[in-house]
């Protein structure tokens, strides 16, 4: 591992910080190498290769926390960084009204190494270019029964790389990790006359280049773009009114992420993200509160093999585990780090992650999903609906900063009549409060699928890889507004 040559700098940093009077110190060598390739309308753009490593130091002095980082990895620079960071904490202590403590979470000594069948180093620019050209060929070759629909605009990025970390804490934590990843992102624009429809596809997992075959990337993009053409060419007007709605895994996942995962981040609940990513409609006393029906079950699990949000030990060196966020409609757990769990007097569940050496670790989701249910198939769930909508994919979405008022606009969406899907309908909008959404859950299918996403939070902003997912989820009697 490349970071082997820098490990002693992290150990040195923690020792120096303690010598200078820090109650707690943590150092993290964090970086990676990766290659990306971008194809625009079938034309290769310049390939991109990144190689970035640096060190982060985090200390607590007199209850005040400071964070320092640099990519200048010499002993002298790290000594300066440590001294500056300790000094910053000490001088800000007078403005700290709520002293920060890391509590009794026991940090681990652990090595995490995600295996690859086909090493990501093989994902060089030429390999990535060939992959994207093959996908593009399939998209361009797609034929639509809906006359006159084309996909002239196609932008795709594929990337392969390795993230490496070495974390050491002053209370005994020592965690080393190597996580390879493959990611795909594409925006496809279908045009017909003056009308347009757009599909964003994002896929990502941890592991080697075998991911491409495992997720059937070529087939997936081909099928999705074929559907996009059908949506533009064939979708009719969506109804407006109260009706049953079946959410696909893609919709279940985004709703779980936005209106369960985010409001149950303890740092939001305690106000720490108030000025940027916002707070929560929940309070620290909300554990046990009923916010959904007895069929509402949502979890976050960083231990799922291959997952985009795989993080079995967090960036404070604490072993992570599955978190049951909503069980039978009741709030059962918040996402915690060392300081929030100490403040709230609960057990830490290891949710602290950082996007890079120049970012502090903060509470993040990993793989957030609606738990699967009893219905054997999607069709069986749809049979329960006399008159409604099946939302299979979405375009626009957003939610207020307390995570109470959300909106999902359907892309691939079908009218359901008498238990069967009929035709495609255009852009139905589900705009609903969080209790109304989770309170209306009536059933869930057995199939559990995930989508990759990058979740944004923090200041400066940190985008972090996650999965969102779930089964098909039946919402009983919610309002849909037909779009255009």
């Amino acid at each position: 591992m490349l970071l082997d040559e820098y490990k002693d700098l992290a150990d040195f940093c923690v020792r120096e910080a303690r010598k200078l009077g820090a109650e707690y110190a943590e150092a993290r060598i964090h970086g990676g190498k990766g290659t990306g390739f971008l194809l625009k309308n079938g034309e290769p753009q310049p390939s991109m290769i990144d190689d970035s490593f640096g060190i982060a130091a985090r200390v607590i002095v007199g209850g005040a926390m400071a964070f320092g980082a640099t990519n200048l990895l010499s002993r002298e620079r790290v000594r300066d960084l440590t001294a500056t960071t300790v000094k910053m904490a000490r001088s800000s202590a007078r403005l700290v009204k709520e002293p920060i403590e890391m509590g009794d979470s026991k940090p681990a000594t652990r090595k995490v190494n995600v295996s690859e069948k086909e090493p990501v180093e093989g994902g060089d620019p030429n390999w990535l270019k060939s992959l994207l050209l093959e996908i593009d060929g399939r998209v361009v070759g797609s034929r639509s029964d809906a006359g006159g629909v084309k996909i002239p605009n196609r932008i795709m990025v594929a990337s392969a790389g390795v993230e490496e970390k070495y974390i050491v804490t002053s209370d005994g934590g020592k965690v080393e990790s190597r996580v390879p990843r493959f990611n795909f992102f594409g925006i496809f624009t279908a045009l017909k006359g003056g009308e347009a429809a757009q599909r964003i596809i994002q896929q990502g997992e941890t592991g080697g280049l075998e991911i491409v075959k495992r997720i059937r990337l070529l087939e997936l993009v081909e099928e999705e773009t074929q559907t996009l053409m059908e949506v533009l060419g064939e979708a009719g007007k969506a109804p407006t009114g109260m009706m049953d709605v079946v959410l696909s895994p893609e919709l279940s996942g985004i709703a779980a992420h936005e209106s369960v995962g985010h409001p149950q981040e303890a740092d939001r609940i305690l106000g720490r993200e108030g000025a940027q990513a916002g707070e929560s409609y929940l309070s620290k006393d909300s554990l046990g509160t009923k916010v959904g029906s007895e069929e509402a079950y949502v979890s976050d699990d960083p231990t799922i093999a291959h997952s985009n949000g795989y993080c079995p030990v967090d960036d404070e060196g604490v072993v992570s585990r599955k978190r049951r966020l909503i069980v039978g409609g009741k709030i059962t757990e918040f996402l915690q780090n060392r300081s929030t769990s100490t403040l709230l007097g609960v057990k830490n569940n290891g949710s602290s992650r950082s996007a890079g050496f120049d970012r502090e670790p903060i509470i993040r989701m990993s793989n957030t999903f609606v738990e699967p249910g009893d219905y054997a198939t999607t069709e069986e769930l749809i049979k329960e609906v006399k008159d409604g909508i099946y939302l299979k994919s979405f375009t626009e979405w957003n939610i207020d900063d307390k995570r109470l008022n959300q909106r999902y606009t359907g892309l691939e969406a079908y009218r359901i009549k008498n238990g069967e899907t009929t035709g495609l309908v255009r852009a139905p909008v589900l705009e609903i409060t969080t209790p109304a959404l989770w309170g209306s859950v009536k059933g869930r299918s057995k199939r559990l699928e995930f989508e990759a996403a990058s979740c944004g939070k923090g200041d400066p902003m940190q985008g972090i890889p996650v999965w969102t997912g779930g089964p098909d989820t039946l919402l009983a009697g919610v309002r849909i507004v037909g779009g255009s």
Binding site: S47, F67, N71, P152
Partner: protein, 456 residues
């Protein structure tokens, strides 16, 4: 530990390595930044940060092939190995149809330093400003505050194989403060400036505190899906017009992710709207004299009198569009530097008086597009939001969403204010000098269902 190089030495060494390997062209850009941040919540400091970074961006071209690399290791042997890897990778690729040769004769840039030297080391400055902002918010009634104060200096150093050489330094100080009187009553204030002289933490705090007080007992609209006149603060308008600036990138136009495609020379906004991208001007937060291809930045009128006049270009997109670079590279994607919206002739009170049935929005977040090609979007107002009837502010409002299209909305501008403010924060990437805008016929929606107290 091996020797680390300064920016000029690093650039010069990198260009030499690229030439030795056989590259036709090379650009080395070293970016050095020193950022300090103090974050606070519940009126208490939560963390103080200092990040010092030095990174290189390397561009190589050979026989019509191109490659870009970014490295954070300024050590000599590492940079050499990195450029060798780039060159080797590039040579496995076919010719790039977007390749355009750099101008044969490079330029030398030696701009007069205009950054604030006080921000080179912001130590000792930040805590005082945070206290000032919090006290100002609490003086207006806020019960608690949260926010961040960031100060820093960034320098860009460039050298190319064609003789371009230069460096440029910019500074900035940004405060973002949110004040709360209760869970649903919040206000937002910000101050951002290239210099300490123009920085106004107390004003930002007062604004946040005042809105948080006025938002007590906010109510929901009785129904959604209706149209309103909307008076957007500079913070809200900068978020939406900043996106228009990004849509003006020729890359977005080509990629099908811009509603401004095929609209050059056509009306895309009301007669009163002027939108200009500026590389370097008085007060710019992210001032740049040269772009990432070493071309000079300039002032580019994107929208003038409501007509789309230009896209933003680098050398590659300019060639395909049959025009000249506007000095906005991005090596792959051109983008805006600083955006300026032309001032109008209205005062704030006059704009409110003009509203028959409308809403005042002071902050927003989470703008997302249904379709970039059509510009259909929604965004969520937050903090100070007020219902106006017959020119009178009637009530604070919560729980709404704007759902419209950018082109329709900016084609319905009724009034623009005389006063403008620089805006840059979590929801506004590019510094934007922005006035208040009064816009007609904006669709406002609300969510189905009750809040947490009645739900479940």
């Amino acid at each position: 530990m091996a020797k680390m190089m300064g920016p000029d030495e690093s650039n010069s060494f990198g260009v030499r390595v690229a030439k030795r390997l056989g590259a036709d062209e090379a650009i080395l850009m070293t970016v050095i930044s020193n950022e300090r941040m103090e974050r606070f919540a519940n009126s208490s400091v939560t963390v103080t940060k200092n990040v010092k970074e030095s990174g290189q961006v390397v561009y190589l071209a050979k026989g019509g092939r191109r490659i870009i690399g970014s490295s954070s290791n300024p050590e000599k042997a590492s940079l050499e190995r990195f450029i060798e890897l780039l060159y080797k990778s590039m040579m496995t690729l076919p010719k790039d149809p977007g390749y355009v040769a750099l101008p044969a004769r490079g330029r030398a840039y030696s701009p007069k330093p205009s950054h604030d030297k006080k921000l080179e080391s912001a130590e000792g400055l930040l805590s005082g400003y945070v206290e000032e902002a919090i006290e100002s918010a609490e003086g207006e009634g806020a019960r608690r505050t949260a926010g961040s104060l960031e100060a820093g200096v960034t320098s860009h150093h460039i050298m190319s194989s064609t003789g371009t050489v230069g460096s440029d330094t910019s500074s900035r100080i940004l405060l973002n403060i949110r004040a709360f009187t209760d869970r649903d009553a919040s206000g937002h204030g910000l101050s951002c400036s290239a210099t300490v002289r123009d920085f106004r933490p107390a004003t930002a705090g007062e604004r946040a505190g005042s809105h948080s007080e006025r938002m007590r007992n906010a109510r929901e609209l009785s129904e959604g899906g209706k149209t309103y006149q909307v008076l957007m603060s500079p913070t809200v308008a900068a978020n939406l017009l900043g996106l228009v600036g990004e849509f003006a990138s020729a890359f977005s136009v080509e990629a099908g992710t811009s509603y401004l495609a095929d609209k050059l020379g056509k009306k895309v906004a009301s007669d009163s709207l002027d939108l200009t991208d500026v590389g370097k001007a008085e007060g710019c937060l992210d001032a740049r004299t040269f772009d990432d291809e070493g071309q000079p930045t300039q002032s580019t009128k994107l929208i003038e009198g409501g007509v789309l006049r230009s896209y933003l270009h680098n050398l590659s997109t300019a060639k395909r569009f049959g025009t000249k670079s506007t000095g906005n590279a991005g090596l792959i994607e051109p983008g805006p530097w600083n955006l300026e919206i032309g001032r109008g002739d209205s005062g704030y009170e006059e704009m409110v008086a003009e509203m028959k049935h409308g809403l005042i929005l002071t902050s927003n977040w989470y703008t997302r597009f249904k379709n970039y090609r059509t510009g259909e979007f929604s965004t969520v107002p937050r903090d100070g939001t007020y219902l106006v009837e017959s020119g009178e502010v009637r009530a604070p409002i919560k729980g709404i969403r704007i759902s419209d299209s950018l082109e329709r909305m900016f084609s319905s501008i009724r009034l623009i204010s005389r006063d403008r403010e620089w805006v840059q924060w979590w929801e506004v990437d590019n510094p934007t000098l922005c006035p208040w805008l009064l816009v007609d016929g904006v669709t406002v929606t609300r969510a189905y269902g009750e809040g947490p107290s009645q739900g479940g």
